[in-house]
Symmetry: C2
Subunit: 185 residues, 2 copies
DNA sequence: AAAAATATGTAGACCGATCTATTAAGGAGC
DNA sequence: GCTCCTTAATAGATCGGTCTACATATTTTT
């Protein structure tokens, strides 16, 4: 793949990621992707011959990896688990507010849209959540109930992010931050 | 409004609720609503002259009230707060599994789809979450941090429900149930 | 090194299907 | 007779996807 082609592919993926995160799978039209990325229709189907599902699938896995990496960085640079979770909430809150309440969890909307049927996109979302759970689980190594705690913390984060996006306010994130310590005690 | 008309209106709302909860706002086509409800196109626009937004808005408020009432019932019949939350998780888990992993939170998908813009539907979702928070808050009366706790518990519930739907499994709900006590201690 | 051949990527017109919404006409029940 | 409600045809826009022609690199051949 040449230089130009790779760049176009990435521009298309970035545009898709934006649109999907803002409005979900069904609302992200390929015409919008084309317009936002500047790539013509033919290029889209050259780089993603299987169409919309492939495009959104790759876009979701990419976004999942980006967030996962951020989690790992924050896990390393935090002294305690509580600090780590608070850093995650702050990071996601910044991202959400700076995007004008558009960018919450890049996976959640598609996950909810697709869960009704067991298709590749549903699996992709499930996989992303599993990978994030593993990052949390690793940071909890040694604790009893580490598996349960990892899920509970991820649920708390996802729930707070959902409420914050729904209310268009950081308040839920801030309030939850104060309760993390209780969960970890 | 006559008997027949009221029935049609309710059939339309029920069908909309089902479809919206399963796949979100954008994926719920009016053609599907018509097919599922048995009502013809004209009836839909007779009962909901403002179109899809009005239809989905009413449908969401209705679903929000139904879940809110269930919360209140469970709050009354539970001896402790922990029991109450566990009963809620069980109730929502049953609903989710019995529906073939389609019916999670009836508001979440639309909330995530719409949060990017501040429109009436976004407001409707926000209002539903506010009303649920109030129910939880009332059950926590007397506790310090009652406001924070109410949000944290709702976040935990919503997050667990999201993960359960995404994974098509009760496991996240079950694991979170075991951690509720820690949060409430 | 020049030219021909092949691979890679771009460009946009076009297709049938489906979308939300409107309209005009007729039937049902008080 | 009059309101309430249903019926179905239709409009215009947009959907995801296909197709052919063209441009630009890259490699092969001479």
């Amino acid at each position: 793949m040449g230089q130009k082609g790779t760049e176009t592919r990435i521009r298309i993926l970035n545009a898709t990621q934006e649109l999907v995160e803002t409005g979900g799978y069904a609302s992200a039209g390929l015409n919008q992707v084309i317009a936002a990325s500047g790539a013509p229709r033919g290029s889209l189907y050259f780089h993603f011959p299987e169409g919309k599902d492939q495009l959104v699938g790759e876009s979701i896995r990419r976004a999942g990896q980006a967030i996962g990496s951020a989690f790992e960085d924050l896990a390393e640079s935090s002294a305690s688990v509580a600090e780590f979770v608070e850093a995650v909430l702050r990071h996601l809150g910044d991202r959400l507010e700076e995007s004008g309440w558009r960018k919450g969890c890049p996976v959640a909307t598609v996950a909810l849209e697709m869960a009704g049927a067991s298709n590749p996109l549903q699996q992709a979302c499930s996989d992303v959540y599993t990978s994030w759970t593993a990052v949390l689980r690793a940071r909890l190594e040694g604790r009893q109930d580490a598996d349960d705690l990892a899920i509970a913390i991820l649920a708390l984060i996802e729930g707070a992010l959902l409420l914050a996006k729904a209310h268009r306010s950081r308040e839920p994130l801030d309030r939850v931050t104060g309760q993390v310590a209780a969960l970890l005690r």
